[in-house]
Symmetry: C2
Amino acid sequence: MNLPERVTIYEVGPRDGLQNEKAVVPVAVKAEFLTRLAATGLKVIEATSFVHPKWVPQLADAADLLAALDRAPGVRHPVLVPNERGLDRALESGVSDVAIFASATESFARRNLNRSMDEQYAMFEPVVTRAREAGLWVRAYLSMAFGDPWEGDVPVAQVAEAGRRLFDLGIHELSLGDTIGVGTAGRVQELIAAFDSPEPLAVHFHDTYGQALANTLAALQAGVTTVDSSAGGLGGCPYAESATGNLATEDLVWMLDGLGISHGVSLDALVETSVWMAERLGRPSPSRVVTARSSS
Amino acid sequence: MNLPERVTIYEVGPRDGLQNEKAVVPVAVKAEFLTRLAATGLKVIEATSFVHPKWVPQLADAADLLAALDRAPGVRHPVLVPNERGLDRALESGVSDVAIFASATESFARRNLNRSMDEQYAMFEPVVTRAREAGLWVRAYLSMAFGDPWEGDVPVAQVAEAGRRLFDLGIHELSLGDTIGVGTAGRVQELIAAFDSPEPLAVHFHDTYGQALANTLAALQAGVTTVDSSAGGLGGCPYAESATGNLATEDLVWMLDGLGISHGVSLDALVETSVWMAERLGRPSPSRVVTARSSS
Protein backbone atom coordinates (compact mmCIF):
# COMPACT_ATOMS: atom_id res chain seq x y z
CA MET A 1 0.00 0.00 0.00
CA ASN A 2 1.17 3.45 -0.84
CA LEU A 3 0.80 5.26 2.48
CA PRO A 4 2.25 8.37 4.12
CA GLU A 5 4.78 8.01 6.94
CA ARG A 6 3.07 10.56 9.10
CA VAL A 7 -0.49 11.84 9.49
CA THR A 8 -1.77 14.96 11.21
CA ILE A 9 -4.93 14.26 13.15
CA TYR A 10 -7.17 17.31 13.13
CA GLU A 11 -9.33 16.81 16.22
CA VAL A 12 -12.85 18.23 15.87
CA GLY A 13 -14.61 16.75 18.92
CA PRO A 14 -14.75 19.94 21.02
CA ARG A 15 -16.33 21.86 18.15
CA ASP A 16 -18.06 19.50 15.70
CA GLY A 17 -18.88 17.10 18.52
CA LEU A 18 -20.11 19.43 21.21
CA GLN A 19 -22.04 21.72 18.87
CA ASN A 20 -24.33 18.76 18.23
CA GLU A 21 -25.04 17.93 21.83
CA LYS A 22 -28.48 18.87 23.06
CA ALA A 23 -27.12 19.81 26.43
CA VAL A 24 -24.82 22.80 26.73
CA VAL A 25 -21.57 21.61 28.26
CA PRO A 26 -20.20 23.98 30.95
CA VAL A 27 -17.20 26.04 29.90
CA ALA A 28 -15.02 24.49 32.60
CA VAL A 29 -15.74 21.01 31.25
CA LYS A 30 -14.94 22.17 27.72
CA ALA A 31 -11.66 23.68 28.91
CA GLU A 32 -10.74 20.48 30.70
CA PHE A 33 -11.67 18.46 27.61
CA LEU A 34 -9.28 20.60 25.54
CA THR A 35 -6.52 20.26 28.11
CA ARG A 36 -6.95 16.51 28.28
CA LEU A 37 -6.96 16.20 24.48
CA ALA A 38 -3.73 18.20 24.23
CA ALA A 39 -2.18 15.88 26.82
CA THR A 40 -2.88 12.88 24.56
CA GLY A 41 -0.43 14.28 22.03
CA LEU A 42 -2.91 15.84 19.60
CA LYS A 43 -1.36 18.91 17.96
CA VAL A 44 -4.40 20.38 16.22
CA ILE A 45 -7.60 20.63 18.23
CA GLU A 46 -10.47 22.70 16.91
CA ALA A 47 -11.61 24.50 20.03
CA THR A 48 -14.92 26.21 19.33
CA SER A 49 -16.93 28.30 16.91
CA PHE A 50 -17.72 32.00 16.58
CA VAL A 51 -20.98 31.30 14.83
CA HIS A 52 -23.73 33.51 16.20
CA PRO A 53 -24.92 32.08 19.54
CA LYS A 54 -28.48 32.16 18.22
CA TRP A 55 -27.55 29.38 15.75
CA VAL A 56 -25.22 27.33 17.92
CA PRO A 57 -26.04 28.05 21.57
CA GLN A 58 -23.88 25.08 22.56
CA LEU A 59 -20.78 27.12 21.68
CA ALA A 60 -21.98 30.58 22.77
CA ASP A 61 -19.19 30.60 25.34
CA ALA A 62 -16.43 30.67 22.69
CA ALA A 63 -14.69 33.78 24.05
CA ASP A 64 -14.92 32.58 27.64
CA LEU A 65 -13.55 29.19 26.66
CA LEU A 66 -10.56 30.68 24.86
CA ALA A 67 -9.88 32.94 27.83
CA ALA A 68 -9.95 29.92 30.14
CA LEU A 69 -7.89 27.75 27.82
CA ASP A 70 -4.64 26.36 29.12
CA ARG A 71 -2.62 26.55 25.89
CA ALA A 72 -0.15 23.70 25.60
CA PRO A 73 3.05 24.51 23.68
CA GLY A 74 3.00 23.36 20.07
CA VAL A 75 -0.75 22.79 20.02
CA ARG A 76 -2.91 24.72 17.59
CA HIS A 77 -6.52 25.52 18.40
CA PRO A 78 -8.38 26.58 15.26
CA VAL A 79 -11.79 28.13 15.69
CA LEU A 80 -14.67 28.31 13.27
CA VAL A 81 -15.50 31.76 11.90
CA PRO A 82 -18.57 32.10 9.69
CA ASN A 83 -18.05 35.69 8.52
CA GLU A 84 -16.27 38.97 9.30
CA ARG A 85 -18.12 39.45 12.56
CA GLY A 86 -17.01 35.99 13.66
CA LEU A 87 -13.44 36.81 12.61
CA ASP A 88 -13.57 40.01 14.68
CA ARG A 89 -14.61 38.05 17.74
CA ALA A 90 -11.94 35.40 17.09
CA LEU A 91 -9.25 38.08 16.72
CA GLU A 92 -10.36 39.68 19.97
CA SER A 93 -9.77 36.30 21.59
CA GLY A 94 -6.24 36.17 20.19
CA VAL A 95 -6.57 33.09 18.01
CA SER A 96 -3.93 32.16 15.45
CA ASP A 97 -5.86 29.62 13.38
CA VAL A 98 -9.33 29.93 11.90
CA ALA A 99 -11.63 27.84 9.74
CA ILE A 100 -14.41 28.98 7.44
CA PHE A 101 -17.14 26.64 6.26
CA ALA A 102 -18.40 26.58 2.70
CA SER A 103 -20.81 24.37 0.82
CA ALA A 104 -20.21 22.33 -2.32
CA THR A 105 -23.90 22.55 -3.22
CA GLU A 106 -26.41 25.33 -3.77
CA SER A 107 -28.98 23.62 -1.58
CA PHE A 108 -26.76 23.43 1.47
CA ALA A 109 -25.27 26.90 0.89
CA ARG A 110 -28.81 28.22 0.94
CA ARG A 111 -29.84 26.27 4.02
CA ASN A 112 -26.66 26.55 6.06
CA LEU A 113 -25.45 30.02 5.00
CA ASN A 114 -28.58 31.60 3.55
CA ARG A 115 -26.55 32.39 0.45
CA SER A 116 -25.90 31.10 -3.04
CA MET A 117 -22.55 29.47 -3.70
CA ASP A 118 -21.31 32.60 -5.47
CA GLU A 119 -22.43 34.70 -2.53
CA GLN A 120 -20.56 32.45 -0.10
CA TYR A 121 -17.24 33.19 -1.83
CA ALA A 122 -18.03 36.90 -1.69
CA MET A 123 -18.72 36.56 2.03
CA PHE A 124 -15.53 34.60 2.67
CA GLU A 125 -13.20 36.75 0.57
CA PRO A 126 -12.71 39.53 3.16
CA VAL A 127 -12.61 36.98 5.97
CA VAL A 128 -9.72 35.10 4.40
CA THR A 129 -7.94 38.27 3.31
CA ARG A 130 -8.13 39.89 6.72
CA ALA A 131 -7.23 36.64 8.49
CA ARG A 132 -4.13 36.26 6.33
CA GLU A 133 -3.21 39.90 6.83
CA ALA A 134 -3.39 39.24 10.56
CA GLY A 135 -0.99 36.32 10.11
CA LEU A 136 -3.54 33.63 10.78
CA TRP A 137 -3.58 30.13 9.30
CA VAL A 138 -6.84 29.55 7.43
CA ARG A 139 -8.68 26.32 6.74
CA ALA A 140 -11.87 25.98 4.74
CA TYR A 141 -14.37 23.20 5.19
CA LEU A 142 -16.23 22.14 2.10
CA SER A 143 -19.45 20.48 3.17
CA MET A 144 -21.52 18.02 1.11
CA ALA A 145 -18.44 17.17 -0.93
CA PHE A 146 -19.76 13.68 -1.76
CA GLY A 147 -23.52 13.72 -1.46
CA ASP A 148 -26.24 16.11 -0.40
CA PRO A 149 -29.61 15.21 1.12
CA TRP A 150 -31.44 17.48 -1.34
CA GLU A 151 -29.31 17.11 -4.47
CA GLY A 152 -28.12 13.51 -4.13
CA ASP A 153 -24.76 12.67 -5.62
CA VAL A 154 -22.50 15.72 -5.93
CA PRO A 155 -20.29 15.60 -9.06
CA VAL A 156 -16.52 15.58 -8.55
CA ALA A 157 -16.06 18.50 -10.95
CA GLN A 158 -18.49 20.65 -8.96
CA VAL A 159 -16.68 19.95 -5.70
CA ALA A 160 -13.25 20.49 -7.22
CA GLU A 161 -14.40 23.83 -8.68
CA ALA A 162 -15.71 24.95 -5.28
CA GLY A 163 -12.42 23.91 -3.73
CA ARG A 164 -10.42 25.83 -6.31
CA ARG A 165 -12.42 28.97 -5.62
CA LEU A 166 -11.63 28.64 -1.93
CA PHE A 167 -7.92 28.10 -2.61
CA ASP A 168 -8.04 31.19 -4.85
CA LEU A 169 -9.21 33.18 -1.82
CA GLY A 170 -5.96 32.23 -0.09
CA ILE A 171 -6.85 29.40 2.29
CA HIS A 172 -4.04 27.13 3.48
CA GLU A 173 -6.02 23.92 3.83
CA LEU A 174 -9.24 22.50 2.43
CA SER A 175 -11.16 19.87 4.36
CA LEU A 176 -13.39 17.78 2.11
CA GLY A 177 -16.46 16.95 4.16
CA ASP A 178 -18.74 13.99 3.64
CA THR A 179 -21.35 15.66 5.80
CA ILE A 180 -23.95 12.94 5.38
CA GLY A 181 -21.52 10.03 5.21
CA VAL A 182 -22.63 8.57 1.89
CA GLY A 183 -19.31 8.57 0.03
CA THR A 184 -17.25 5.50 -0.72
CA ALA A 185 -13.57 4.82 -1.25
CA GLY A 186 -13.39 5.08 -5.04
CA ARG A 187 -15.09 8.45 -5.10
CA VAL A 188 -12.75 9.65 -2.36
CA GLN A 189 -9.76 8.93 -4.55
CA GLU A 190 -11.41 10.47 -7.63
CA LEU A 191 -12.14 13.66 -5.75
CA ILE A 192 -8.63 13.95 -4.36
CA ALA A 193 -7.19 13.36 -7.82
CA ALA A 194 -9.25 16.28 -9.13
CA PHE A 195 -7.03 18.67 -7.17
CA ASP A 196 -3.53 19.73 -8.17
CA SER A 197 -2.01 18.10 -5.11
CA PRO A 198 -3.29 16.16 -2.10
CA GLU A 199 -0.95 18.11 0.17
CA PRO A 200 -3.24 20.97 1.29
CA LEU A 201 -6.26 18.66 1.51
CA ALA A 202 -7.82 17.12 4.58
CA VAL A 203 -10.69 14.65 4.75
CA HIS A 204 -13.64 14.84 7.09
CA PHE A 205 -15.78 11.71 7.15
CA HIS A 206 -18.96 10.91 9.00
CA ASP A 207 -19.77 7.30 9.74
CA THR A 208 -23.47 7.39 8.82
CA TYR A 209 -23.09 4.47 6.41
CA GLY A 210 -20.10 2.88 8.13
CA GLN A 211 -17.66 4.11 5.48
CA ALA A 212 -15.57 6.62 7.43
CA LEU A 213 -12.48 4.55 8.12
CA ALA A 214 -12.44 2.76 4.75
CA ASN A 215 -12.70 6.18 3.10
CA THR A 216 -9.84 7.44 5.25
CA LEU A 217 -7.69 4.53 4.14
CA ALA A 218 -8.49 5.40 0.52
CA ALA A 219 -7.61 9.05 1.15
CA LEU A 220 -4.27 8.12 2.72
CA GLN A 221 -3.50 5.96 -0.30
CA ALA A 222 -4.26 9.00 -2.47
CA GLY A 223 -1.68 11.08 -0.61
CA VAL A 224 -3.77 12.96 1.94
CA THR A 225 -1.93 13.42 5.24
CA THR A 226 -4.44 15.36 7.35
CA VAL A 227 -7.47 13.54 8.72
CA ASP A 228 -10.31 15.06 10.71
CA SER A 229 -11.74 12.97 13.51
CA SER A 230 -13.57 13.37 16.76
CA ALA A 231 -12.52 11.95 20.11
CA GLY A 232 -14.94 9.21 21.03
CA GLY A 233 -16.83 9.69 17.76
CA LEU A 234 -18.73 12.71 19.09
CA GLY A 235 -20.59 14.79 16.61
CA GLY A 236 -22.73 15.13 13.55
CA CYS A 237 -24.42 17.97 11.76
CA PRO A 238 -27.58 19.52 13.14
CA TYR A 239 -28.59 21.00 9.78
CA ALA A 240 -28.32 17.85 7.71
CA GLU A 241 -30.69 14.91 7.85
CA SER A 242 -29.40 11.49 8.86
CA ALA A 243 -25.93 12.74 9.69
CA THR A 244 -24.32 10.79 12.49
CA GLY A 245 -21.04 10.99 14.28
CA ASN A 246 -17.64 11.84 12.93
CA LEU A 247 -14.97 9.24 12.46
CA ALA A 248 -13.79 8.40 15.98
CA THR A 249 -10.23 9.50 16.65
CA GLU A 250 -9.58 6.28 18.54
CA ASP A 251 -10.64 4.10 15.60
CA LEU A 252 -8.39 6.17 13.33
CA VAL A 253 -5.46 5.89 15.75
CA TRP A 254 -5.93 2.11 15.94
CA MET A 255 -5.64 1.90 12.15
CA LEU A 256 -2.67 4.28 11.94
CA ASP A 257 -0.85 2.33 14.65
CA GLY A 258 -1.46 -0.91 12.77
CA LEU A 259 -0.22 0.65 9.54
CA GLY A 260 2.91 2.01 11.23
CA ILE A 261 1.96 5.62 10.42
CA SER A 262 3.20 8.19 12.97
CA HIS A 263 0.68 10.53 14.56
CA GLY A 264 1.98 11.31 18.04
CA VAL A 265 -1.17 10.47 19.97
CA SER A 266 -1.42 8.14 22.96
CA LEU A 267 -4.37 5.80 22.42
CA ASP A 268 -4.67 5.00 26.11
CA ALA A 269 -4.85 8.67 27.08
CA LEU A 270 -7.35 9.31 24.31
CA VAL A 271 -9.65 6.46 25.37
CA GLU A 272 -9.46 7.70 28.94
CA THR A 273 -10.41 11.20 27.81
CA SER A 274 -13.34 9.96 25.74
CA VAL A 275 -14.62 7.84 28.59
CA TRP A 276 -14.35 10.87 30.87
CA MET A 277 -16.25 13.04 28.35
CA ALA A 278 -18.90 10.36 27.80
CA GLU A 279 -19.51 10.36 31.55
CA ARG A 280 -19.98 14.14 31.44
CA LEU A 281 -22.45 13.76 28.57
CA GLY A 282 -24.23 10.88 30.25
CA ARG A 283 -24.04 8.43 27.35
CA PRO A 284 -21.54 5.92 26.01
CA SER A 285 -19.03 6.79 23.29
CA PRO A 286 -19.95 5.43 19.85
CA SER A 287 -16.27 4.71 19.13
CA ARG A 288 -15.70 0.97 18.68
CA VAL A 289 -12.21 1.21 20.17
CA VAL A 290 -13.45 3.13 23.20
CA THR A 291 -16.20 0.54 23.67
CA ALA A 292 -13.79 -2.39 23.35
CA ARG A 293 -11.15 -0.82 25.57
CA SER A 294 -13.47 0.36 28.30
CA SER A 295 -15.51 -2.85 28.53
CA SER A 296 -12.54 -5.21 28.78
CA MET B 1 -7.60 1.33 -6.99
CA ASN B 2 -7.00 -2.23 -8.08
CA LEU B 3 -10.33 -3.85 -7.33
CA PRO B 4 -12.24 -6.93 -8.48
CA GLU B 5 -15.25 -6.57 -10.77
CA ARG B 6 -17.34 -8.94 -8.75
CA VAL B 7 -17.46 -10.05 -5.12
CA THR B 8 -19.18 -13.03 -3.54
CA ILE B 9 -20.79 -12.11 -0.26
CA TYR B 10 -20.69 -15.06 2.11
CA GLU B 11 -23.55 -14.34 4.51
CA VAL B 12 -22.92 -15.63 8.03
CA GLY B 13 -25.74 -13.97 9.99
CA PRO B 14 -27.96 -17.03 10.46
CA ARG B 15 -25.04 -19.02 11.86
CA ASP B 16 -22.34 -16.70 13.26
CA GLY B 17 -24.97 -14.15 14.23
CA LEU B 18 -27.64 -16.29 15.80
CA GLN B 19 -25.22 -18.62 17.62
CA ASN B 20 -24.25 -15.60 19.70
CA GLU B 21 -27.74 -14.59 20.70
CA LYS B 22 -28.67 -15.32 24.27
CA ALA B 23 -32.22 -16.18 23.27
CA VAL B 24 -32.83 -19.24 21.14
CA VAL B 25 -34.59 -18.10 17.99
CA PRO B 26 -37.49 -20.40 16.99
CA VAL B 27 -36.79 -22.63 14.00
CA ALA B 28 -39.64 -21.06 12.01
CA VAL B 29 -38.08 -17.61 12.44
CA LYS B 30 -34.68 -18.94 11.37
CA ALA B 31 -36.24 -20.55 8.29
CA GLU B 32 -37.99 -17.31 7.38
CA PHE B 33 -34.73 -15.39 7.94
CA LEU B 34 -32.97 -17.71 5.47
CA THR B 35 -35.79 -17.38 2.94
CA ARG B 36 -35.75 -13.60 3.22
CA LEU B 37 -31.97 -13.47 2.87
CA ALA B 38 -32.10 -15.61 -0.27
CA ALA B 39 -34.73 -13.25 -1.69
CA THR B 40 -32.28 -10.33 -1.33
CA GLY B 41 -30.05 -11.93 -3.94
CA LEU B 42 -27.47 -13.48 -1.62
CA LYS B 43 -26.12 -16.68 -3.18
CA VAL B 44 -24.15 -18.11 -0.25
CA ILE B 45 -25.87 -18.14 3.14
CA GLU B 46 -24.37 -20.15 5.97
CA ALA B 47 -27.44 -21.75 7.46
CA THR B 48 -26.51 -23.36 10.76
CA SER B 49 -23.99 -25.47 12.65
CA PHE B 50 -23.76 -29.14 13.57
CA VAL B 51 -21.67 -28.38 16.60
CA HIS B 52 -22.88 -30.42 19.59
CA PRO B 53 -26.04 -28.78 21.01
CA LYS B 54 -24.41 -28.79 24.42
CA TRP B 55 -21.93 -26.16 23.16
CA VAL B 56 -24.20 -24.12 20.94
CA PRO B 57 -27.78 -24.64 22.10
CA GLN B 58 -28.86 -21.72 19.90
CA LEU B 59 -28.35 -23.93 16.85
CA ALA B 60 -29.46 -27.26 18.31
CA ASP B 61 -32.28 -27.29 15.76
CA ALA B 62 -29.91 -27.59 12.79
CA ALA B 63 -31.53 -30.71 11.32
CA ASP B 64 -35.04 -29.36 11.81
CA LEU B 65 -34.06 -26.06 10.20
CA LEU B 66 -32.59 -27.74 7.14
CA ALA B 67 -35.70 -29.91 6.84
CA ALA B 68 -37.88 -26.78 6.98
CA LEU B 69 -35.66 -24.79 4.62
CA ASP B 70 -37.20 -23.50 1.44
CA ARG B 71 -34.17 -23.91 -0.84
CA ALA B 72 -34.00 -21.18 -3.46
CA PRO B 73 -32.43 -22.20 -6.77
CA GLY B 74 -28.79 -21.23 -7.11
CA VAL B 75 -28.37 -20.49 -3.41
CA ARG B 76 -25.82 -22.44 -1.40
CA HIS B 77 -26.34 -23.05 2.31
CA PRO B 78 -23.08 -24.18 3.91
CA VAL B 79 -23.26 -25.57 7.42
CA LEU B 80 -20.59 -25.73 10.07
CA VAL B 81 -19.29 -29.21 10.93
CA PRO B 82 -16.83 -29.51 13.79
CA ASN B 83 -15.89 -33.18 13.33
CA GLU B 84 -16.94 -36.47 11.78
CA ARG B 85 -20.02 -36.76 13.94
CA GLY B 86 -21.08 -33.28 12.77
CA LEU B 87 -20.41 -34.29 9.17
CA ASP B 88 -22.58 -37.40 9.62
CA ARG B 89 -25.45 -35.26 10.84
CA ALA B 90 -24.94 -32.77 8.01
CA LEU B 91 -24.92 -35.55 5.42
CA GLU B 92 -28.12 -36.98 6.89
CA SER B 93 -29.65 -33.54 6.29
CA GLY B 94 -28.58 -33.63 2.65
CA VAL B 95 -26.25 -30.63 2.65
CA SER B 96 -23.92 -29.94 -0.26
CA ASP B 97 -21.57 -27.40 1.38
CA VAL B 98 -19.79 -27.63 4.71
CA ALA B 99 -17.35 -25.56 6.71
CA ILE B 100 -14.85 -26.68 9.30
CA PHE B 101 -13.33 -24.30 11.81
CA ALA B 102 -9.67 -24.34 12.73
CA SER B 103 -7.49 -22.12 14.87
CA ALA B 104 -4.34 -20.25 13.92
CA THR B 105 -3.12 -20.35 17.52
CA GLU B 106 -2.45 -23.06 20.07
CA SER B 107 -4.33 -21.13 22.76
CA PHE B 108 -7.56 -20.90 20.82
CA ALA B 109 -7.26 -24.45 19.43
CA ARG B 110 -7.04 -25.62 23.01
CA ARG B 111 -9.93 -23.49 24.22
CA ASN B 112 -12.28 -23.83 21.26
CA LEU B 113 -11.47 -27.37 20.13
CA ASN B 114 -9.80 -28.89 23.18
CA ARG B 115 -6.93 -29.89 20.90
CA SER B 116 -3.45 -28.79 19.91
CA MET B 117 -3.04 -27.34 16.43
CA ASP B 118 -1.54 -30.59 15.17
CA GLU B 119 -4.45 -32.49 16.65
CA GLN B 120 -6.93 -30.23 14.92
CA TYR B 121 -5.56 -31.17 11.49
CA ALA B 122 -5.78 -34.85 12.46
CA MET B 123 -9.39 -34.31 13.46
CA PHE B 124 -10.24 -32.44 10.25
CA GLU B 125 -8.45 -34.79 7.85
CA PRO B 126 -11.19 -37.47 7.73
CA VAL B 127 -13.90 -34.79 7.76
CA VAL B 128 -12.52 -33.11 4.64
CA THR B 129 -11.70 -36.41 2.92
CA ARG B 130 -15.16 -37.85 3.49
CA ALA B 131 -16.88 -34.57 2.59
CA ARG B 132 -15.01 -34.41 -0.69
CA GLU B 133 -15.73 -38.08 -1.40
CA ALA B 134 -19.40 -37.24 -0.91
CA GLY B 135 -19.04 -34.45 -3.48
CA LEU B 136 -19.35 -31.60 -0.99
CA TRP B 137 -17.74 -28.19 -1.25
CA VAL B 138 -15.57 -27.57 1.80
CA ARG B 139 -14.58 -24.30 3.43
CA ALA B 140 -12.28 -23.91 6.41
CA TYR B 141 -12.38 -21.02 8.81
CA LEU B 142 -9.10 -20.02 10.34
CA SER B 143 -9.79 -18.17 13.58
CA MET B 144 -7.45 -15.75 15.32
CA ALA B 145 -5.67 -15.10 12.04
CA PHE B 146 -4.58 -11.60 13.14
CA GLY B 147 -4.55 -11.48 16.90
CA ASP B 148 -5.44 -13.71 19.80
CA PRO B 149 -6.61 -12.60 23.26
CA TRP B 150 -4.10 -14.89 24.95
CA GLU B 151 -1.15 -14.76 22.55
CA GLY B 152 -1.45 -11.21 21.23
CA ASP B 153 -0.25 -10.58 17.71
CA VAL B 154 -0.27 -13.72 15.57
CA PRO B 155 2.63 -13.84 13.08
CA VAL B 156 1.79 -13.95 9.38
CA ALA B 157 4.03 -16.99 8.84
CA GLN B 158 2.18 -18.94 11.52
CA VAL B 159 -1.22 -18.17 9.99
CA ALA B 160 -0.03 -18.93 6.46
CA GLU B 161 1.39 -22.28 7.62
CA ALA B 162 -1.91 -23.18 9.29
CA GLY B 163 -3.72 -22.20 6.11
CA ARG B 164 -1.42 -24.33 3.97
CA ARG B 165 -2.05 -27.35 6.16
CA LEU B 166 -5.79 -26.87 5.69
CA PHE B 167 -5.42 -26.53 1.91
CA ASP B 168 -3.31 -29.71 1.98
CA LEU B 169 -6.29 -31.51 3.50
CA GLY B 170 -8.27 -30.63 0.38
CA ILE B 171 -10.43 -27.65 1.34
CA HIS B 172 -11.78 -25.45 -1.46
CA GLU B 173 -11.83 -22.14 0.40
CA LEU B 174 -10.08 -20.65 3.42
CA SER B 175 -11.71 -17.86 5.39
CA LEU B 176 -9.19 -15.78 7.32
CA GLY B 177 -10.91 -14.75 10.51
CA ASP B 178 -10.07 -11.71 12.61
CA THR B 179 -12.04 -13.18 15.47
CA ILE B 180 -11.27 -10.37 17.90
CA GLY B 181 -11.22 -7.58 15.32
CA VAL B 182 -7.75 -6.24 16.07
CA GLY B 183 -6.21 -6.45 12.60
CA THR B 184 -5.52 -3.48 10.34
CA ALA B 185 -5.30 -2.99 6.61
CA GLY B 186 -1.56 -3.43 6.11
CA ARG B 187 -1.47 -6.74 7.94
CA VAL B 188 -4.46 -7.90 5.92
CA GLN B 189 -2.53 -7.41 2.71
CA GLU B 190 0.62 -9.01 4.14
CA LEU B 191 -1.31 -12.09 5.18
CA ILE B 192 -3.04 -12.45 1.83
CA ALA B 193 0.31 -12.08 0.05
CA ALA B 194 1.68 -14.96 2.12
CA PHE B 195 -0.59 -17.35 0.20
CA ASP B 196 0.06 -18.59 -3.33
CA SER B 197 -3.06 -16.88 -4.64
CA PRO B 198 -5.86 -14.78 -3.17
CA GLU B 199 -8.40 -16.71 -5.22
CA PRO B 200 -9.42 -19.42 -2.73
CA LEU B 201 -9.27 -16.99 0.21
CA ALA B 202 -12.12 -15.25 1.97
CA VAL B 203 -11.93 -12.66 4.73
CA HIS B 204 -13.99 -12.61 7.88
CA PHE B 205 -13.74 -9.41 9.87
CA HIS B 206 -15.24 -8.38 13.18
CA ASP B 207 -15.76 -4.72 13.89
CA THR B 208 -14.53 -4.70 17.48
CA TYR B 209 -12.04 -1.91 16.76
CA GLY B 210 -13.96 -0.37 13.87
CA GLN B 211 -11.59 -1.82 11.26
CA ALA B 212 -13.83 -4.32 9.47
CA LEU B 213 -14.71 -2.33 6.36
CA ALA B 214 -11.28 -0.71 5.94
CA ASN B 215 -9.77 -4.19 6.20
CA THR B 216 -12.22 -5.46 3.61
CA LEU B 217 -11.18 -2.70 1.23
CA ALA B 218 -7.54 -3.69 1.74
CA ALA B 219 -8.41 -7.35 1.08
CA LEU B 220 -10.24 -6.49 -2.14
CA GLN B 221 -7.21 -4.49 -3.27
CA ALA B 222 -5.10 -7.58 -2.58
CA GLY B 223 -7.27 -9.69 -4.86
CA VAL B 224 -9.70 -11.38 -2.48
CA THR B 225 -13.18 -11.77 -4.00
CA THR B 226 -15.11 -13.51 -1.22
CA VAL B 227 -16.13 -11.50 1.83
CA ASP B 228 -17.91 -12.80 4.91
CA SER B 229 -20.48 -10.54 6.48
CA SER B 230 -23.55 -10.72 8.62
CA ALA B 231 -26.92 -9.20 7.80
CA GLY B 232 -27.51 -6.31 10.17
CA GLY B 233 -24.12 -6.88 11.78
CA LEU B 234 -25.37 -9.74 13.94
CA GLY B 235 -22.79 -11.84 15.66
CA GLY B 236 -19.58 -12.24 17.53
CA CYS B 237 -17.76 -15.07 19.16
CA PRO B 238 -18.92 -16.49 22.48
CA TYR B 239 -15.53 -18.02 23.27
CA ALA B 240 -13.37 -14.96 22.71
CA GLU B 241 -13.23 -11.94 24.95
CA SER B 242 -14.22 -8.56 23.60
CA ALA B 243 -15.37 -9.92 20.25
CA THR B 244 -18.23 -7.90 18.82
CA GLY B 245 -20.33 -8.16 15.72
CA ASN B 246 -19.32 -9.18 12.26
CA LEU B 247 -18.99 -6.72 9.44
CA ALA B 248 -22.58 -5.78 8.55
CA THR B 249 -23.59 -7.00 5.11
CA GLU B 250 -25.41 -3.72 4.49
CA ASP B 251 -22.30 -1.63 5.17
CA LEU B 252 -20.33 -3.90 2.84
CA VAL B 253 -23.00 -3.63 0.12
CA TRP B 254 -22.98 0.17 0.43
CA MET B 255 -19.24 0.21 -0.21
CA LEU B 256 -19.39 -2.31 -3.06
CA ASP B 257 -22.18 -0.32 -4.73
CA GLY B 258 -20.11 2.85 -4.44
CA LEU B 259 -17.08 1.10 -5.90
CA GLY B 260 -19.12 -0.30 -8.78
CA ILE B 261 -18.36 -3.90 -7.77
CA SER B 262 -21.11 -6.40 -8.65
CA HIS B 263 -22.56 -8.56 -5.90
CA GLY B 264 -26.17 -9.25 -6.84
CA VAL B 265 -27.78 -8.20 -3.57
CA SER B 266 -30.64 -5.72 -3.13
CA LEU B 267 -29.74 -3.28 -0.37
CA ASP B 268 -33.37 -2.32 0.24
CA ALA B 269 -34.44 -5.93 0.66
CA LEU B 270 -31.48 -6.58 2.92
CA VAL B 271 -32.20 -3.60 5.18
CA GLU B 272 -35.84 -4.68 5.38
CA THR B 273 -34.76 -8.19 6.38
CA SER B 274 -32.38 -6.93 9.05
CA VAL B 275 -35.02 -4.62 10.50
CA TRP B 276 -37.42 -7.56 10.56
CA MET B 277 -34.83 -9.76 12.32
CA ALA B 278 -33.93 -7.00 14.78
CA GLU B 279 -37.61 -6.81 15.73
CA ARG B 280 -37.62 -10.58 16.35
CA LEU B 281 -34.52 -10.22 18.53
CA GLY B 282 -35.91 -7.19 20.33
CA ARG B 283 -32.95 -4.90 19.77
CA PRO B 284 -31.71 -2.55 17.03
CA SER B 285 -29.29 -3.63 14.36
CA PRO B 286 -25.71 -2.39 14.89
CA SER B 287 -25.33 -1.84 11.14
CA ARG B 288 -24.77 1.84 10.33
CA VAL B 289 -26.59 1.52 7.02
CA VAL B 290 -29.57 -0.21 8.62
CA THR B 291 -29.69 2.50 11.28
CA ALA B 292 -29.48 5.32 8.71
CA ARG B 293 -31.99 3.74 6.37
CA SER B 294 -34.54 2.77 8.98
CA SER B 295 -34.46 6.08 10.86
CA SER B 296 -34.90 8.30 7.80
